[in-house]
């Protein structure tokens, strides 16, 4: 008998069917992976399991008995604990306070600090994070450490079923390996794990069973390893999966002055002596494991970081970029598509038009007064060019889908006709259809003469889009792959070989 069974689960939000007749079977002592595009129903599914929302139809069976959860607390009591993508940690409180936040041990009505600390230390150990001090304030910890604390917090509730929603996205490579070990140990202890991830290698590494969701339905359940990646992706997008990347034109090494050149760029301990050259018409990718300084490099170029040393040259002339307002000036012509479109790329309550025109407002106005007609035309042109699916341009940007929101962010910068385009993981959390459109767009922009530098956590993207890939490790560029050298194997092995090299050097 399955530990947990979902049958015929349906959920509607207004006119939208988030889930339709979904099925899921979870066994104790197994890791079950859930795959699917954004909007496929995965997050609704786990919200139902975790008691955050209630289903319209269908049954959930725990140990064969029907259950329903009115709140997350009820689900927790039943032994189902979920680690969401957005961290639920309180920054100003200590690790111990956070781990015991919902039900602290008490003595005489007050919180028993010593018992709480013991509880925290146990949970941290179980999560493989013994090195985190229970009294440390969460806001002083790195993102990766915080994710570990989040996992410890979930384990402290003694779950029978643990749900992880993109739980490894923020972890450093070392922590990811630790977490694999932890999850496998938990599996051996009899815990049931539900694992949602976009990363195929993780699924291969961990999963025993997989279920694919597409358009709100569970379209396939199979034992891990019995389907190829292509088959899985086809199930996810529900159509033929062909090479989605636009063809690259063979390029001879350019002898012209580099559009962008870096010489010995350093910043705190995150960026170490980086030198690179970016030519017009090139698409260069930043590879390597997550957290090696790729994001910081892009921010440094855009002028957001203080205390950088080294030289930056645009078209051969040294420049001093002190901030985004300087970077976007015509002589430099830089644009940055930031990491988080909702909080860094758009003003969600403002209209599509206002968001699109915001970066280029200076060009659309004279003496500080906005030329409404010019703005309207420019906005309409971009909406057409990028095929942004929206109900007119006066709608709030927040009402668009994730993919269309990202198009707004890109469109905003396209209005500036940028000559150097920096992108920070531009296709994260976006559906496959929009991803393809973005790849084609990048190639077209490069053909038109822009120099593109982008960071991606997706190996397929780096392989498919880039002319060159710079693999980073520990804040420095360790390897450059050119043209046909760029393969998934080469990318992974470069990232890992470096690990092996440094370990050997340390051992010597």
């Amino acid at each position: 008998m399955s530990l947990f069974l979902m049958q015929g689960i349906s959920k509607r939000y207004g006119g939208v069917r988030a889930l339709q007749d979904a099925q899921l079977a979870i066994e104790a002592g197994r890791i079950h992976a859930v795959l699917g595009e954004n909007g496929a129903g995965k997050s609704t599914l786990i919200k139902i399991m975790a008691g955050v929302v209630t289903p319209d139809e269908g049954v959930m069976l725990l140990d064969g008995k029907p259950v329903s959860f009115a709140s997350p607390a009820a689900a927790n009591d039943a032994g189902i604990v979920c680690i969401f993508q957005e961290l639920s940690l309180i920054p100003d409180l200590s690790v111990a306070d956070n781990i015991a936040i919902s039900n602290p041990p008490r003595r005489f009505g007050l919180i028993d600090r010593r018992a709480q600390r013991r509880m925290a230390e146990e949970a941290l150990a179980r999560a493989g994070a013994e090195d985190i001090h229970p009294l440390a304030l969460v806001k002083d910890l790195s993102l990766s450490r915080r994710q570990m604390v989040e996992i410890a917090k979930a384990l402290a509730r003694k779950p029978r079923i643990l749900i992880l929603d993109e739980a490894t996205s923020a972890l450093t490579a070392a922590d990811v390996t630790k977490i694999y070990a932890v999850l496998k140990r938990l599996r051996a202890e009899g815990l049931a794990l539900l694992y949602i991830s976009h990363r195929m290698h993780e699924i291969t590494e961990l999963a025993d069973e997989c279920t694919v969701f597409c358009n709100g339905r569970s379209v396939a359940s199979y034992a891990a390893g019995t389907k190829t990646d292509n088959e899985v992706v086809e199930l996810m997008i529900g159509r033929e999966y062909s090479g989605v990347f636009p063809a690259r034109t063979a390029r001879a090494a350019s002898t012209a002055t580099a559009r962008l050149e870096l010489r010995r760029l350093c910043w705190t301990d995150k960026l170490d002596d980086i030198s690179l050259q970016l030519h017009a018409g090139e698409v260069i990718g930043l590879g390597g494991l997550d957290g090696q300084g790729q994001r910081e490099l892009l921010l440094a170029l855009f002028g957001v970081l203080r205390g950088t040393s080294g030289e930056v040259l645009v078209d051969g002339k040294p420049v001093n970029i002190t901030g985004p307002s300087v970077a976007k000036r015509a002589e430099i012509g830089m644009a940055l598509i930031p990491e988080d479109r909702k909080t860094e790329g758009l003003m969600l309550p403002m209209s599509v038009r206002e968001n699109l025109s915001f970066a280029a407002l200076g060009r659309l106005s004279r003496w500080g007064i906005v030329d409404a007609a010019a703005e309207r035309d420019a906005v309409a042109r971009i909406v057409r060019l990028l095929a942004v699916r929206t109900d007119g341009t006066e709608l709030a940007a927040g009402s668009l889908s994730g993919g269309n929101q990202q198009k707004l962010v890109i469109g905003k910068w396209l209005m500036m006709a940028p000559r150097i385009i920096l992108l920070n993981d531009p296709t994260r959390g976006i559906d496959v259809g929009t991803k393809q459109e973005i790849y084609t767009l990048l190639r077209e922009l490069a053909e038109a003469g822009a120099a593109i530098l982008f960071y991606s956590t997706d190996y397929d993207e780096l392989v498919g889009c880039c002319d060159r890939v710079l693999v980073m490790y520990d804040g420095a560029i360790k390897r450059e792959l050119v043209g046909a050298q760029i393969t998934e194997r080469a990318l992974i092995s470069s990232a890992l070989n470096i690990d092996a090299d440094t370990r050997q050097a340390a051992a010597a």
Partner: protein
């Protein structure tokens, strides 16, 4: 199903958003108050009385304009009380400096307010300090300066003729000058907020400063300018008040801080910034002014006025100023 074309869709959205429930509610309450007032006194609805109300509202209106711009940024300006006083006192002081001083009285008063606003703006924009405490400190400094300036006594200088003219005079079919001044200030504010890059950036900063910064907007300059404008408008309000009373007075700005904030919020501007239209502020100012005058027409004792004032504000905000629930 045919989706409306781009242009049609835009018009629909625009229509829906134009009928802002907050502004509608505010104007509805104004009508209610007028009817209520007419029950107490037949002359309540007379044009002279209404014009008088609008004249009194103008002083608050000018001050509330500055308050609104700062609130749109997502900040707050608690320096209003003494910047208003600075404006009045400096303008009257300049009047006493001979004919040149008399001519420049109004600009001098406003300039002092702008200077104080720049200090606040610097603290918020460059030092990244919370505006609540920065403007509190500037308020304290302004008070300190005025105490030293007047020696602790009531200021004896009188206002210049120009000041008296714009505050108490009538022109143009008997419309009070103060009202014309407010209309001019309001018109400029509307233009600034809706048609300029400055205004667009103010709304952007109020919505999401980080995104505005990363889009290359000059956020620091805009914030400083906004506070400078607010300081200038507060001081200008003080100039008008001094013109109305023919002289300045200690603590003349104290009664204007909370009503200014209340007027802005009652007009539908979100206290957290990023949303609001000037029409709403106009409605809020008129509403507050009418409320205060009805309470005095009803010859309600002072305590009753304070209680009703507070209750009405809460009641109106409960009707349309509420935030979202977590489960939304």
């Amino acid at each position: 199903m045919g989706r409306p074309s781009g242009a049609e869709a835009n018009t629909l959205t625009a229509l829906r958003s134009r009928i802002d429930p907050a502004i509608a509610a505010a104007f509805g309450c104004i009508v209610l108050l007028l009817l209520l007032g007419s029950l107490y006194s037949s002359s309540f609805l007379s044009p002279q009385y209404l014009l008088q109300q609008l004249k009194v509202a103008s002083f608050l209106g000018v001050i509330a304009t500055g308050a609104m711009i700062v609130i749109l940024l997502g900040q707050i300006d608690l320096s209003v009380p003494w910047v208003v006083a600075v404006g009045g006192m400096m303008a009257t002081a300049a009047t006493g400096w001979g004919p040149l001083g008399q001519a420049l009285a109004i600009p001098v008063g406003v300039a002092c307010g702008v200077a104080l606003g720049l200090v606040s703006g610097f603290g918020v924009a460059f030092l990244r300090l919370p505006s609540m405490i920065v403007t509190l400190a500037v308020n304290a400094i302004a008070q300190g300066l005025m105490v030293v300036h007047t020696g602790g006594f009531s200021p004896q200088d009188s206002s210049s003729p120009a000041m008296r003219f714009i505050a108490t005079g009538h022109s143009l079919f008997g419309i009070p000058n103060a009202l014309l001044v407010w209309a001019a200030v309001g018109g400029a504010a509307v233009f600034l907020l809706t048609r300029t890059t400055f205004g667009r950036t103010v709304y952007a900063i109020g919505n999401r400063e980080r995104a505005a910064y990363l889009s290359g907007a000059r956020t620091r300059g805009v914030v400083m300018a906004a506070f400078a404008i607010a300081g200038g408008l507060s001081a200008f309000g003080g100039v008008l008040l001094a013109g109305y009373a023919s002289k300045a007075a200690q603590a003349m700005g104290d009664p204007y801080l909370l009503p200014a904030i209340a007027a802005v919020v009652l007009g539908g501007t979100a206290i957290l910034g990023g949303r609001g239209s000037y029409l709403g502020t106009v409605a809020g100012v008129i509403l507050i002014t009418l409320l205060q005058s009805i309470l005095s027409v009803m010859q309600m004792e002072e305590f009753g006025r304070h209680v009703i004032y507070g209750v009405v504000i809460i009641a109106m905000l409960l009707v349309y100023g509420r935030g979202r629930r977590h489960s939304d």
